[in-house]
Amino acid sequence: MHYFYRIHGLILKVNFKIFYLDEIKDESIINNGELVEVIETKNIKSYFLKENYWDTSFIKFFKNECILIINNIVTFYIKDGEYIYWERSNGQVAQKDIINFLITSAINIAAIQKGKLMLNATTLFKRESVITLIGPPCTGKNTIALMLFDRGWQIISNESSFLSDDQLVFSGNRNLRIWKNTAKTLGIKRNKLQNIRSNLRRYQLRNKKINPIKPSFKLKKVFFIKERYKPNMDFLKENSSPIDKNKILLNKIDSEQLIILKLRNNIFNPRCYRGLNKEEEMIDSLFANLNKLNFQELQFPDNLKMTKFLIDNSKLFEKEIS
């Protein structure tokens, strides 16, 4: 029995259910899509015969192939963006761990092998409006997305998003992930949360029904999420006037050089682009999007409750809705 799911413009063929991706049952879509087949196997090698300059102890490259070793959990061998072979490290590894790393890492590497521009980004829509939040892990993309989710925004793709040269973002992992302390501060009850992995204090929302969405959305606005501001860091601003800690700071970015640099620095797994020799394609894609999107920088206070209050009461995101 096989299941087919949409993710980053690809069609994932697996023999297990994945609840937070959009399932496809239409055979014509399946037959005409870019298929990535996920296959359990044995004896995946842990290295290629020729070492690549960009190899680390855990990720290895050879031409358009990649081996990803996740210690004591799973090893993936990803080939040409078409096949993902996986091998469980031992019998104790839970299936949800395999699915987690398949969705958050292996499939993104397959997308990179296909030459796609993958960003560290969470993309959302509400009516006709589409925004993406870009920033490295732990900058609060999930937290802000959760606050917007509560205000009617829907997730297109969480944590990583594929942005095409014609500004389309494709549906991906549609489940939000939050840390235990964030859940506690925002008053989300434990019974509404599910562990991402059994030994992590990081959760996804339990039983939030995800309605299927369109395969892709036209992006309009990009928000780079800056590290949350702290009043004691006022001195780092070029303009040394104190920050109003009860405001969301919003700055338009006009410098093309700065935009390209910020996008490049927020590429998902830049080592893969180098190891798989896809950096040139990636840079071309960045430039293809440069003048077609509106780029802003967003900074929130270092206080979650205040941030929630500001998002609930500010028109910042609501005015994006046409």
Binding site: T104, I109, P137, G140, R202, R264, N269, P270
Partner: protein, 297 residues
């Protein structure tokens, strides 16, 4: 500056927090900066908020994720401690800095299965920076907003670590340190990478000898005039003044008034009670004596 660190060669700058690690990094950057000044009109002093990148801190999530090929947030601290020892093969992508990596980790973590918590292949060496624990207590209490009793307990706690909370997203992963004396021994008695010890007190009272040793070990320069100038430019008084004029230092925690505080030695002797000092000494006298630290009166 002689040493241009090749991608696969690197050093560690290891210490318990508040022992002088930042001072050593400032010196390294200052040597580099003044070596490259072409005329006297160039920038007269180091900008501590823009020019202190000597290399990625070993606990950086971005770097660890880059090496692992996955988001490090998806691994627990215990799982991370088992893999961090292989996470330094190459420097962070897009990070053009040298590879003098700051670390507060003990050499072996309680969760690293007896293996070094950091990569050791191709490591050219480690500088272990050490300070009288009584003074560390005072400095730590200001830094973490602890009272002196709590700060003493921190140094004596076998489970002490930075970023202890696994339930929050943080730009750094947990750094296990343990007791102060065990932390010292974990670095100075390991036999895997060559290590020199820099005592804070020697850096302060015999800076030329101390920083010349550092400079030689890191293959920075043997130009004594350059070393003297870098020492002068990075004295605590000058750096405090720079911090004051820049209105802050980016590595300063929220609850701490200023990062560069007094830099004094003997402050612990003055401010701690005899009971507090005795508690430190009673528990850690072997290591304290070995490095010339006594119970102060």
């Amino acid at each position: 500056m002689k040493n241009s660190i090749a991608d696969n060669n690197y050093y560690y700058l290891a210490s318990y927090p508040k022992s002088g690690n930042t001072w050593v990094r400032l010196f390294i950057k200052e040597i580099s900066r003044i070596s490259n000044i072409k005329n006297e009109d160039d920038l007269a002093e180091i900008n501590i908020n823009k020019e202190l990148n000597t290399g990625t801190i070993t606990s950086s999530r971005v770097w660890i994720s880059d090496q692992l090929g996955i988001n490090s947030c998806d691994l627990s601290f215990k799982e991370l401690d088992l893999v961090r020892g292989k996470c330094g093969k190459s420097k962070n992508i897009f990070n053009e800095a040298d590879r003098f990596h700051k670390t507060h980790d003990a050499f072996i973590s309680k969760d690293s299965a007896g293996n070094p918590i950091l990569e050791t292949n191709n490591c050219k060496g480690a500088v272990y920076i050490l300070r009288h624990p009584e003074d560390v207590v005072i400095s730590l209490s200001h830094f973490f907003n602890l009272n002196y009793d709590e700060s003493v307990e921190f140094l004596l706690n076998k489970d002490s670590c930075l970023v202890p909370n696994e339930g929050s997203g943080n730009a750094q992963v947990r750094q296990y340190m343990g007791r102060w004396d065990k932390h010292v021994l974990s670095w100075v008695d390991q036999e895997i990478i060559p290590t020199i010890v820099m005592r804070y007190e020697d850096m302060k009272f015999d800076p030329i000898t101390s920083f010349s040793k550092l400079s030689s070990f890191l293959n920075l320069t043997d130009d004594i005039e350059l070393i003297k100038k870098a020492i002068d430019n990075t004295s605590i008084e000058k750096i405090k003044d720079i911090e004051r004029r820049l209105k802050g230092f980016r590595e300063k925690p929220a609850k701490c008034d200023s990062f560069f505080r007094s830099g004094r030695t003997g402050e612990g002797a003055e401010k701690l009670s005899f009971i507090q000092k005795e508690k430190l000494y009673k528990n850690m006298n072997k290591v304290m004596n070995r490095f010339g630290y006594e119970l102060s009166k």
